[in-house]
């Protein structure tokens, strides 16, 4: 579904991504691990066509994310690290705007907003201005935005930061449910989350892939995910 070939990104002289290659199959949930500044967010920004790579290629469903970016953006739902919310809008206004601009027709807008409200548990806050929402609700509205158009691919940048343990479990379950049919890439710092949700893990450090595999394998090899993380990103 997603194929990343020799991706390199430089900002001036600073090398942020150094010749990264990997692919994600349809229906796979990929966990993206690595210390802060390792290049996780940069990779995600390139897959979503927010940035262009210095060299290398991203193929989304066989299409080049640089050349056919309008087509690839349609099949991707993206939740950036800073949840992109228009503070002055009310929750339902925001959802409606997203549904409209994603090109859903009138009936789809109605149906889909209803579903998304149910999935993300937004019923209580629908009429509230977004600026008054708690961190947990903001994250949920952000997630609702990302899944609105039923994308084949979901890219979530640290979707559980700042949430309390209950909310983390909720979001995790949500990712699992969605990941049954869709392709999901998400980054996180919470290692237990990875073994609980991911089919596969990629650990990157200083712009390079330093380890990958099924969580169970990594745990066996290094005696735990934390040990694997510590060992590989030293």
């Amino acid at each position: 579904m997603i194929e990343i070939k020799n991706l390199t990104k430089k900002f001036g002289q600073v090398l942020v991504l150094d010749n990264i290659s990997f692919s994600v199959a349809k229906g796979e949930i990929l966990g993206f691990l690595g210390p802060n500044g390792a290049g996780k967010t940069t990779t995600m920004k390139i897959i979503t066509s927010f940035w262009t790579p210095t060299s290398g290629q991203v193929l989304v469903g066989g299409l080049d994310a640089d050349e056919n970016s309008l087509a690839t953006r349609k099949v991707i739902g993206y939740l950036p690290e800073t949840v992109p919310l228009y503070e002055e809008m009310r929750v339902f206004e925001y959802l409606k705007f997203i549904a409209e601009i994603r090109g859903l027709n009138k009936q789809e807008i109605k149906d889909r907003i209803k579903q998304v409200i149910l999935i993300c548990g937004l019923k209580k806050v629908l009429r509230q201005p977004i600026e008054e929402l708690s961190k947990g609700y903001r994250q949920r509205v952000g997630l609702a935005q990302a899944i609105m158009h039923e994308p084949d691919i979901l890219i979530l940048d640290e979707p559980t930061t700042g949430l309390d343990p209950n909310q983390i479990v909720e979001i995790r379950d949500l990712i699992k449910t969605i990941g049954r049919e869709k392709t999901v890439i998400f980054s996180t710092h919470i290692l237990s989350e990875v073994s609980a949700t991911c089919d596969r893990v990629i650990i990157i450090n200083n712009g390079k892939i330093v380890g990958q595999g099924v969580p169970a394998e990594l745990i066996e090899k290094y005696g735990g995910l934390e040990q694997a993380f510590r060992e590989l990103t030293k």
């Binding site: 900002f11 001036g12 920004k45 979503t48 066509s49 927010f50 940035w51 262009t52 309008l70 087509a71 953006r73 349609k74 991707i76 993206y78 950036p80 690290e81 800073t82 949840v83 992109p84 919310l85 228009y86 503070e87 002055e88 809008m89 206004e93 705007f97 409209e100 601009i101 994603r102 090109g103 935005q145």
Partner: protein
């Protein structure tokens, strides 16, 4: 395809226009614009005792000069600061669609403010014999001049994530573009440059139109000015993440 292209612009346009009225900006803006405009005008109106809006259109460019950057300062700076730019630019839209939507929403908002000032020509028409030609020209010129300020301000907003900087630089740039053709600037400039500066200055073209002389030359000038800065804006947005 064509229809969808415009439909997306319209959806974004609607959202941008709504966001003015969802925040206090719209009410403060329209309030200040009307109070300052009406006060300045009626201050001298009864002394001159002429049913003409010429004075109004003489200081309107100056009011716009301060108020236009206030409209445009947040258009990009806020998206960058709050991170919504990442959503906006990863939606399946082209950069042109986003920029056209932002520009026309700002222009629509300015037009709505201008609409409220129509109380002046209506009052004048009751008080005396108002010549409608210059009034019409004045409003048309105001839209073109305002549009130019907005295109320039929008471009400047795309260069920073700080709204205050966007405002001050926007103000300075609009001021420079407006003043460059003014008589007192021309008086101290090299002879060879005068025709060019006269042509570049936003103000001279406005004065022509506000006199009621609608010349295609002036219209083409304004449209090119607006297009130039929208185009530069697209270039800036395209270069995101190249640091």
């Amino acid at each position: 395809m064509k229809k969808d292209y415009l439909k997306i612009i319209f959806i974004l346009f609607k959202k941008e226009l709504m966001s003015y009225f969802n925040s206090p900006i719209a009410y403060v803006f329209i309030g200040v614009f009307l109070v300052v405009g009406n006060w300045l005008f009626f201050n001298t109106f009864f002394l001159a005792a002429q049913a003409s809006m010429r004075n109004y259109f003489a200081f309107l460019p100056w009011i716009f000069l301060f108020l236009s950057p206030a409209i445009t300062m947040r258009l990009w700076a806020e998206e960058k600061k709050s991170g919504t730019i990442e959503l906006l630019l990863t939606l399946p839209l082209t950069d042109w669609q986003v920029i056209l939507a932002k520009f026309f929403s700002a222009l629509a908002f300015l037009s709505i403010s201008l609409l409220f000032s129509l109380t002046i020509p209506v009052s004048l028409a009751f008080l005396g014999n108002l010549d409608l030609g210059p009034v019409f020209g004045g409003y048309l010129g105001a839209l073109f001049l305002g549009g130019s300020y907005l295109a320039l301000g929008l471009f400047i907003s795309s260069l920073t994530k700080n709204q205050i900087i966007a405002f001050i630089l926007g103000l300075a740039a609009c001021f420079a573009a407006f003043i460059i053709g003014a008589d007192f600037v021309l008086a101290g400039s090299p002879q060879d440059l005068i025709p060019l500066m006269k042509f570049i200055g936003l103000g001279n073209h406005f004065n022509n139109i506000a006199r009621g002389v609608i010349d295609t030359k002036d219209i083409v000038y304004y449209l090119s000015f607006i297009f130039l800065f929208l185009w530069l804006n697209v270039r800036v947005v395209e270069r995101r993440g190249w640091k």
